[in-house]
């Protein structure tokens, strides 16, 4: 069999695989559908180049296989052809880059009305904090973190007192409300990623990183850690439940607020001292 | 390879000459000794190492939450009971720059095949370098005595100690290696290895005074790096 046939079948197989693959995107559940569109565009342009180049190669292999009496063409350079190819490629690259940069511009500019969510990561788990009625998150420090203050909130920060604390790896979000995820880590790198939302960013100890998205489908989604964080990396999961406003508010009302926790602890402290006195 | 002699080739000056050399066969840098070309490229690579160190230092100094110590207090030296800022470091810098001067003279006398003068000047450079390393050791022990460690210091951010010891240590290692080679080369000059074109211990090349210039390039580079370290650590 001529080797060209096998190469041709490889190209054909790649195209068929792409068309019939059962392995493909999960349905997008956020505002980042544009990323999928850019990927599709890249597939058309890039895939087109791949197929064209490979088919040309296969054609050459068939057409110009070695013959004793044939002499190859002698043509060191073709300035015109090279120029055309350079410009055509440049054009293709610009066509791919431009939409990519537009979307990135959206990605780095967070809408003003976005709800800030503090996502705190450690080896190996997540917990979340929402701003209270004042709409602002209290500042935090790693050294403050302990059993009484699981988020390490600075006690002298008035904004921190009414923060809503979700000591669970499942976070509820309101449908169609933009969310600004503020990531921090107390030990190593992590990354809070929901495949259906498309967006992601590393959590880096020492700094706070961010990204935003707007969920637009209700339902339950799985959170994966996608930055290698040690032997438990593959098991570091969480969840997101996207709900309509009413249900979301119901859930929100049930959550504990930081001042409640302080009060509870003070009460316990008082009782403890009473016990000791007795 | 001994000093290349080029017959029948006129080198044109300027950009045109450079383009012509680049387009020609055999060598790109006409008449440049292999070892000398090698040293230039090595130094370029070494420049990247020190740049990485200094850029890391800037980034580290910029991002640490604790305040950076004040260099004129940390590096002050008591002279007759009065703390003079940067006294020691000024002397160290002076010594090192002077040794660059003696090195340059050694190269000149080497090419004039003035064995004695060349040897003495290389030796003087070596002693200058040794003095520098000695004073640096003194400064290190002073800082250590005051409680500065790579992982902490009483004056402020811990990263101050980390970067200071790492970068001056890396530079000091460069100087020390240079000093060792200077002593070896001083011996080789006095013993007349370059006049007799004696082969070195490890190389198949014949000895030549150009080796003094090659070592000189390294030495000037080490001095130049010191100027940057001086500016970044002591003046910033």
């Amino acid at each position: 069999m001529h080797p060209g046939i096998i190469f041709f079948l490889v190209i054909l197989g790649s195209i068929l695989f792409h068309i019939f693959t059962p392995w493909y995107w999960t349905d997008v559940a956020s505002n980042w559908g544009g990323m999928d569109d850019t990927i599709t565009l890249t597939f058309w342009i890039g895939g087109g180049v791949f197929v064209a180049v490979c088919l040309f190669m296969v054609y050459c292999v068939f057409k110009f296989s070695y013959k004793e009496n044939r002499k190859a063409e002698y043509k060191p350079e073709d300035k015109k052809l090279e120029k055309i190819l350079t410009w055509a490629t440049t054009l293709g690259v610009v066509a791919l880059l431009a939409p990519g940069l537009v979307i990135w511009n959206n990605y780095v500019n967070v809408p003003k009305n976005a709800l800030e969510v503090d996502v705190m990561a450690w080896q190996w788990g997540w917990q979340y904090r929402l701003p209270g009625k004042d709409g602002k998150l209290g500042t935090t420090q790693v050294v403050n973190v302990n059993d009484d203050n699981p988020f390490g909130i600075n006690l002298d920060d008035p904004y921190g007192k009414d923060d809503v604390m979700i000591q669970s790896d499942v976070l509820n979000l309101e449908n169609n409300v933009p969310v600004k995820i503020l990531l921090r880590s107390v030990d190593v790198l992590h990354n809070w990623y929901v495949p259906q939302f498309r967006a992601k960013m590393d959590a880096v100890p020492g700094i706070v990183t961010f990204y935003w998205f707007e969920p637009n489908k209700t339902g339950e989604f799985e959170v994966l850690c996608v930055e290698y964080c040690g032997v438990g990396h593959y098991a570091m999961r969480g969840g997101v439940i996207v709900q309509e406003t009413q249900e979301y508010n119901k859930w929100l009302d049930q959550q504990e607020v930081f001042s409640d926790l302080i009060a509870k602890q003070e009460k316990m402290e008082v009782e403890k001292t009473k016990l000791v006195k007795k | 390879m001994s000093e290349p002699k080029i017959e029948g080739i006129e080198l044109k000056p300027g950009f045109k000459g450079m383009a012509e050399d680049t387009g020609s066969d055999q060598t790109m840098f006409k008449g440049v000794h292999w070892g000398k070309a090698m040293m230039w490229i090595f130094l370029l690579s070494d420049t990247f190492i020190f740049s990485c160190f200094l850029i890391a230092y800037m980034k580290g100094r910029g991002s640490t939450p604790v305040e950076w110590p004040n260099p004129s207090e940390v590096f002050a030296l008591d002279a007759f009971g009065v703390p003079v800022p940067l006294l020691l470091i000024a002397i160290m810098t002076f010594v090192l720059i002077t040794s660059s001067g003696t090195m340059a003279l050694a190269v000149k006398y080497g090419y004039e095949k003035n064995r004695k003068m060349c040897g003495w000047l290389v030796l003087a450079t070596a002693i200058g370098g040794l003095t520098f390393v000695g004073m640096q050791a003194f400064e290190w022990s002073k800082l250590i005595h005051e409680g500065v460690r790579p992982w902490e210091n009483p004056f402020g951010a811990a990263q101050f100690g980390s970067f200071f010891f790492m970068i001056t240590g890396f530079h000091g290692t460069h100087v020390s290696i240079g000093v060792i080679f200077l002593f070896i080369y001083a011996y080789k000059v006095f013993a007349g290895h370059y006049d007799q074109q004696k082969r070195g211990w490890f190389t198949s090349m014949k000895g030549d005074y150009v080796e003094i210039e090659i070592l000189g390039l390294y030495w000037h580079f080490v001095d130049l790096v010191w100027v940057f370290i001086f500016a970044f650590f002591y003046l910033w």
Partner: protein, 612 residues
């Protein structure tokens, strides 16, 4: 000891050989070549077994030494990949592959393959063997330094392998060695393992610097008469430019490794912020983990091209020789190599789009990254245009070349996905990335290495490798590797994250189970197929068909040595004189379909040679 050296021939004796008169002022006729500028090189000739084969100063022997040691590390890397695929395809099938071990295998596989296998093989192996031969030098310019370079590499490999046997085992922090993870208790190999890794990398960089200086000065200052830069084979251009990149990129790795070691040993906090571990605040504080990532990728991205550029160069030569046609657009090819090399220093942070660095960098690095696509695409066009109207020998070497084009274009296109910042966001840290870089800098360069082995083996050993075994080797490797990595991209689309020891309890990745089993089976097959080559080499050394001089009818100097295989000093009494570029194939009017580089114009005056 002095009888061990050639005597230094005077320059004058060489100049008098110049055809058409040496000195300026005489009108040069068409065969004129500039007179010699550099004296013939003194070489140290070893006499004992040790100086001839072990502590040897001959670049060709050093090249083979590099080749063998790199291949050994490559086999170790291959075995590690088998163990990883065993766990991924059939979780729990091999009980001893625990999560700790799995991550150690991932780390060591990555580091070994990128640095100790590919880099050492291309630059140390092919570079040492081919550069002096291709530019017409007797040896590398500093043979002793060259020898030390190899033995530094040897010690680096020994230290790396030693980390398998220390308490705690080798580091399991991922080949990127990101702090703080890398040196924190609880990470596999966070004690001796990571220190040995850093030490080994530092030794490798030191050894490489010695070799690299040799390659550069040999190319710049020791070419033979008539060998201008624009007459050098693209192999030399590729290796040369890659070496420049390495000389400027490895410093960042060296600094990163050094600072990391200090964080571990002395407790400095270069990369270590305040950390809460198991309820206790550690003594670290104030450092920046992202600083390490910048240092690492300032090395890491040029590193990709350190592997790719020699591959580009070698493949150009192989295609040209076996298509019996000049490489199309030689000048463009040279400028593309140089341009890609220069640009590669301005794109490193495209590995860090979602690392938490200032996101505004994304605009800059996405743009620079996609600009690199243009010269790279030009190279691809020129390869296939070289095939166009050629006279293509469909032998094993050409098959590897064709396999390279398919895998490289595939991997290059997926690179455009990942370089385009917002497309990268959903794909980064998934199997798409794994598939992309294995295709473009694993399989594609491997195709080149294999092609180069089949091409140059007749020169090194004087015998042809078996074509029949070679074709089996090729088809199993190419089809197997393609069916590993092509479908793997689609796992990335689903969102399957990389570096997962096990993943099947996620509801939407259950469909990936079957795919993972298939990929693992293909991986076992491809790995096993590599042993065909080893068998082929052993068999050929014993009973292979003798090749004779210039068996492929090539033009470049390495095939024109007086003896095959070339001896120490390469050229016998007289150095070759070069009159043309190495791609004069099928010149109209010429008797043969090739004109060697040493053929003077007067011998082929009636032909239509266009470029010299």
């Amino acid at each position: 000891m002095s009888e061990d050296y050639n005597d230094n021939k005077t320059i004058h004796a060489q100049s008098s050989e110049t055809m058409g008169g040496g000195s300026a002022g005489v009108t040069p006729d068409m065969d004129y070549v500039r007179p010699a500028e550099i004296a013939d090189q003194d070489l140290y000739h070893g006499h004992s077994f040790i100086t001839k084969w072990i502590f040897c100063q001959d670049a060709k022997v050093i090249g083979v030494q590099y080749f063998l040691l790199a291949t050994f590390t490559g086999v170790v890397g291959l075995i590690l990949s088998w163990l990883m695929r065993l766990q991924l395809g059939f979780p729990g099938a091999a009980g001893f592959v625990t999560a700790e071990h799995y991550y150690q295998f991932v780390t060591m596989h990555g580091m070994i393959m990128v640095v100790y296998f590919l880099t050492a093989l291309f630059l140390g192996g092919f570079g040492n063997y081919l550069i002096p031969l291709m530019v017409g030098a007797r040896d590398m310019v500093f043979p002793y330094l060259n020898m030390v370079s190899f033995w530094s590499f040897f010690v680096a490999v020994a230290v790396l392998m030693a980390s398998f046997f220390v308490p705690g085992g080798p580091t399991g922090a991922g080949w990127t060695l990101y702090p703080p993870q890398t040196i924190l208790e609880g990470t596999p190999g966070s004690g001796a393992g990571i220190l040995l890794m850093c030490l080994s990398l530092i030794l490798f960089v030191a050894g490489f610097t010695m070799g690299g200086l040799n390659y550069l000065i040999t190319v710049l200052q020791a070419r033979t008469r008539g060998m201008t830069l624009m007459r050098m084979p693209l192999t030399v251009w590729g290796i040369f430019t890659a070496t420049v990149l390495a000389m400027l990129a490895f410093p960042a790795l060296l600094v990163g490794a050094l600072m990391m070691s200090l964080d571990k040993v002395l407790g400095t906090s270069f990369f270590m912020p305040t950390i809460l571990k198991a309820g206790e605040v550690l003594e670290y504080g104030g450092g920046s983990p992202i600083l390490f990532q910048h240092l690492f990728w300032f090395f890491g991205h040029p590193e990709v091209y350190i592997v790719a550029l020699p591959a580009f160069g070698i493949i150009s030569d192989l295609i040209s020789v076996h298509a019996r046609k000049n490489i199309f657009g030689y000048r463009m090819m040279v400028w593309a190599i140089v341009g890609i090399g220069a640009l590669s220093f301005f794109v490193w942070a495209h590995h860090m789009y979602v690392s938490g660095m200032n996101p505004w960098f994304g605009f800059f690095f996405a743009t620079t990254t996609l600009i690199i696509a243009v010269p790279t695409a030009m190279k691809v066009y020129n390869w296939i245009l070289t095939l166009w109207r050629g006279n293509i020998r469909m032998n094993t070497v050409m098959l590897w070349c064709l396999g390279f084009i398919v895998t490289f274009v595939n991997g290059g296109i997926t690179g455009i996905f990942l370089g385009n910042v917002s497309v990268d966001v959903p794909l980064s840290d998934t199997y798409f990335v794994v598939a992309h870089f294995h295709m473009v800098m694993g399989i594609a360069p491997l195709m080149v290495i294999m092609g180069a082995i089949y091409h140059w083996f007749p020169l090194v050993a004087g015998r042809f490798l078996s074509e029949k075994l070679g074709k089996w080797h090729f088809w199993l490797t190419f089809l197997g590797a393609y069916s590993i990595y092509f479908p793997m991209h689609y796992l990335g689309f689903i969102g399957v994250p990389r570096r997962y020891y096990e993943m099947y309890d996620s509801p939407y990745v259950t469909s990936a189970v079957g795919m993972n089993e298939f990929i693992s089976l293909a991986a076992f097959l491809v790995g096993a197929a590599q042993f065909i080559l080893i068998y082929n080499i052993i068999k050929t050394l014993k009973t292979g068909k003798p090749a004779g001089k210039n068996p492929w009818k090539a033009n470049s100097l390495e095939w024109l040595t007086p003896t095959v295989p070339p001896e120490h000093g390469n050229w016998g009494d007289r150095l070759p004189v070069v009159h043309r570029w190495p791609y004069d194939f099928s010149v109209p009017g010429a008797k043969d379909d090739y004109i060697t580089q040493t053929t003077p114009p007067s011998e082929v005056s009636n032909t239509g040679v266009e470029k010299t």
